[in-house]
């Protein structure tokens, strides 16, 4: 019995060196925590430029007193190589710590790279065992380098700032959606669908190289960037852009539930309404061989921000609901027309038809011939606290 125990123990001990985690050991202060990655390409030289924004743990830390005053919350490293793989070795010519990308939060792609195609990078991320693809991807309007070297107020780490803004936009507007992660891009592209990713644009050309200057300047927008507009991707390539207005209707048709506030016109008078999607139904069918997509949306309206006009009777409410429904229908149809004109398939018609008739011989043609009808049923559910705005001429 003792011999058996001894043998078991020996086998166990012999197996210990085989355990891979012995070699995995890394202390936390040996890691370079990447918070944001930027990808750019130089078509002239045929090289890829990658920017790594590394978190400086000591910045803003209350536990460790750092000599020399304020430190930058992040440091940006720029690497140029012929392939993404090469960068992992070349980086250590500049970086003193082990590149740790498991915690990066945002991936930025320059517009020129996006237009050339991001398939290689998507493959690179997915092929790595420690690759992380469940993070949002944004397209940068213009050169990538200044954005990667921009400090952000309030959220000291720029990736946190972008992520927080995306979350706020998703909840309080229809300018962004949740499904803008790298995995979503891959999924949509594999389904031959389009996806619209947010676009990051610099507010002005002012640049701060010192974080202290940013955090002490009252002008929060100076030298910063905003999220505005969308980049349309088809087949891993950026093929066009949507403006903010078009983004609203795109996200509505996508089924996003963000509460968006917008000014509508009712009987020629402006009225600001908050609306959000309650329910959306997409019903594909065939009429005399022609595909028909019927989209119906139930939308809830709120007049809590309607300082201009408050409907006072059932009739006025009905009229407001009708007019708003029609306005939304028109805008959505306009977006559909644009999508068809640019051959984008923003409404995912091809995907819907494929699901309806998986054996259809020519989905591409069917999608081009598809008739789309959009019906909106807007209902005013909430009014503001005032029955009537205060009068006067002021």
């Amino acid at each position: 019995m003792t011999l058996r125990h001894a043998a078991s123990l020996l086998i166990l001990l012999a197996a210990v060196p085989l355990l891979s985690s012995c070699w995995d050991k890394t202390e936390m202060n040996q890691l370079a925590l990447v918070s944001m990655v930027g990808v750019d390409s130089d078509t002239g030289k045929g090289t890829i430029k990658t920017y790594y924004q590394i978190i400086n743990p000591l910045s803003g830390s209350s536990t460790i007193k750092v000599p020399g005053g304020e430190q930058a919350p992040v440091y940006t490293y720029e690497m140029e190589a012929k392939s993404f793989g090469e960068i992992r070795s070349l980086i250590y010519r500049k970086l003193p710590r082990k590149l740790f990308i498991a915690h990066y939060k945002v991936l930025l792609v320059s517009e020129r790279t996006a237009r050339q195609g991001i398939r290689d990078y998507a493959n690179f991320i997915e092929m790595q065992p420690s690759g992380r693809s469940s993070i949002p991807m944004l397209v940068v309007d213009g050169p990538l380098e200044p954005v990667m070297k921009t400090f952000t107020p309030l959220e000291r780490v720029p990736s946190d700032s972008i992520q927080a803004r995306l979350d706020q936009l998703f909840q309080n507007s229809l300018f962004s959606e949740r499904n803008i992660k790298i995995t979503d891009v891959i999924e949509r592209m594999q389904q031959s669908r389009s996806i619209v990713l947010p676009v990051l644009t610099r507010t002005d050309d002012a640049r701060f190289s010192n974080s202290g200057e940013v955090f002490s300047d009252i002008d929060a927008e100076k030298g910063g960037f905003i999220i505005s507009g969308g980049a349309v991707f088809q087949n891993y390539r950026m093929t066009g852009r949507l403006n903010d207005e078009q983004l609203i209707w795109y996200h509505l048709l996508e089924g996003d539930r963000g509460r968006h506030v917008r000014q509508f016109e009712v009987e020629g008078k402006p009225v600001t309404l908050e609306f959000h999607l309650n329910k959306i139904r997409r019903k594909p069918s065939f009429q005399s061989g022609r595909p028909v997509i019927r989209i119906s949306m139930d939308i809830e309206l709120s007049a809590a921000y309607a300082t201009e006009y408050v409907p006072k009777s059932r009739g006025e409410v009905d009229k407001l609901e009708r007019e708003v429904s029609r306005a939304i229908e028109d805008e959505c149809l306009k977006l559909f027309e644009l999508s068809r004109e640019r051959e984008w398939d923003l409404l995912g018609i091809k995907y819907l038809l494929h699901r309806k008739t998986p054996d259809h011989p020519n989905i591409e043609d069917a999608e081009k011939n598809a008739k789309v009808s959009i019906r909106v049923n807007a209902r005013l559910k909430k009014l503001g606290s005032l029955q009537q705005p205060y009068g006067g001429t002021g």
Partner: protein
């Protein structure tokens, strides 16, 4: 007066007896020999021999010697009164010399007083042992807010009484035995004849009878002989200082072992989940008792696994840590010269040292020790950059949670496991911790306490008893009658 060896065998009472006893005991300084002579003669009438440290001297003076002296000595005669005669008749006994000498020595050691009447050649022992027991006090290691506050003492008779007080039932059995070749310690095997399975009582009796040791100074001496498996960090016998707890176990059909000279009473069999129960669970409302039981379970896992998980996560699996927390931990690690494992080990060992020192320090110094410990181990070490602040939190949390478990011996097991898992986690990461946890589980399910599976009633599953494992259901639903399934099965099996 010299006696030959032959004379000694036939003459029961002689002056040599006292001399031999004194010599056998090594002329101890507390051995006293009080002589009473027949008045006006040199003739020794009575000798009173005792160990002063063991007896109540006042009783000797006031009741024995005084009453003897008050009796009317007639010249050349022993005092003669009806009472005195009755006293002698009841107590005096005749034995061969060698046997008498042995008994006399034993009696003196046990605190009896030996009276020798030379006139009538008779001898007796009077038990006037000085009670050296502390009063019944609240148990230090198992105190409760609600419920009885009595605790066992070092006196086996008092302890028996405390149990009898709670179980007024003729089926309560006390089987006396003496263990310890040198210490001759009294041990009682206690059980309810109608409830305890025969096999359990037999097993305990035979294990006790098989013990060969020189001394038993505490119940822990016996525990190591009685336990089912020696090489296990888990105790397979419970140890309680609470009579109510002991009574509750006895009423569950278990057996208890009382040892003279120690307040710790051994209980068997015991299961893993019983270490998470406290007598107070049954004196509280069911919902509160359940909540506290869950706290104990969480504390157990915290005490055993938190340091190892911390080391594993921060050394091997940084991707599992939320980003903000990782940044914060990373900031704390900046400039710290030691690896996380070494940091945690040093802190844990320091904590254990301070704890051990605190146990033995005089009360007045204890406070200074805790201040030094808190400042040196905490603030100063962090400020000096020797360790990171989060390590102090980890060690403090594990240190506190270690004390939540109601049974002290189980808390010791936790400490051992914590260090084992810490080493495994430091070298093998979460994979190692998982392997370790599986090995621990395998060990736990293979353990038995007097034939009862250690992990019962969870493994093997005995649904009937689940009412008092992870939850404590209200008393009307909590097996108002009958025995726990594990004991019931043991009873049925044999």
């Amino acid at each position: 007066m010299a006696h030959s060896r032959k004379d000694k065998q036939h003459t029961l009472i002689s002056r040599d007896l006292v001399r031999d006893i004194v010599s056998a005991l090594g002329s101890p300084p507390d051995l006293f020999c009080r002589n009473l002579y027949v008045p006006d003669t040199e003739e020794l009438a009575l000798q009173c021999v005792y160990l002063e440290s063991m007896i109540d001297k006042k009783t000797v003076d006031e009741y024995i010697l005084k009453s003897y002296m008050d009796s009317s000595f007639t010249e050349g005669k022993a005092p003669h009164s009806e009472d005195a005669e009755n006293f002698w008749r009841e107590r005096s006994f005749a034995e061969p010399y060698d046997s008498l000498k042995e008994q006399a020595i034993q009696a003196l050691i046990e605190g009896q007083c030996m009276l020798i009447d030379y006139l009538k050649e008779r001898l007796c022992f009077v038990n006037i042992m000085l009670p050296k027991d502390r009063p019944i006090d609240e148990p230090k290691s198992e105190s409760t807010i609600r419920g009885p506050h009595e605790g066992f003492t070092e006196n086996i008779l008092i302890n028996s009484g405390l149990i009898r007080k709670r179980i007024r039932n003729p089926n309560l059995r006390f089987e006396p035995m003496v263990i310890g070749n040198q210490s001759k310690t009294a041990v009682y095997l206690v059980y309810m004849q109608n409830l305890a399975p025969d096999v359990l009582v037999r097993q305990m009796r035979s294990r006790l009878a098989a013990i060969q040791t020189d001394s038993v100074l505490d119940s822990a001496y016996l525990e190591e002989f009685l336990q089912d498996r020696i090489w296990s960090p888990f105790p397979t016998l419970a140890n309680t200082e609470r009579p109510d707890s002991a009574a509750a176990h006895l009423l569950d059909g278990k057996v208890a072992v009382l040892v003279d000279g120690t307040p710790g009473v051994l209980i068997a069999p015991i299961t893993f989940f019983e270490f998470f129960t406290s007598p107070e669970d049954y004196y509280q409302r069911a919902d509160i008792a359940t909540f506290i039981r869950w706290l104990r379970l969480i504390s157990f896992f915290t005490a055993v696994f938190v340091p190892s998980l911390y080391v594993a996560a921060t050394t091997f699996h940084q991707e599992l840590i939320p980003t903000q927390l990782l940044i914060s931990l990373s900031a704390q690690r900046e400039g710290v010269p030691l690896p996380v494992l070494v940091e945690v080990l040093i802190m844990e060992i320091m904590f254990e040292i301070i704890r051990e020192a605190g146990l033995r320090m005089p009360r007045a110094v204890g406070q200074a020790l805790s201040i030094v410990g808190a400042i040196v181990l905490g603030q100063a070490a962090v400020e000096a950059g020797l360790i990171s602040a989060s390590i102090v939190i980890v060690v403090a949390v594990t240190g506190i949670t270690n004390f939540v478990v109601p049974v002290y011996s189980f808390g010791m097991s936790q400490r051992l496991l914590r260090f084992s898992f810490l080493i495994i986690g430091g070298f093998l990461g979460l994979f190692g911790i998982l392997c370790g946890a599986l090995l621990l589980l395998a060990h736990l399910v293979s353990l038995k306490s007097f034939g009862v599976p250690y992990m019962a009633p969870v493994a093997p599953a005995q649904g009937k008893d689940w009412k008092d494992v992870l939850v404590r259901v209200p008393r009307p639903y909590l097996r108002p009658r009958g025995l726990p399934s594990v004991i019931e099965r043991l009873k049925r099996k044999h």
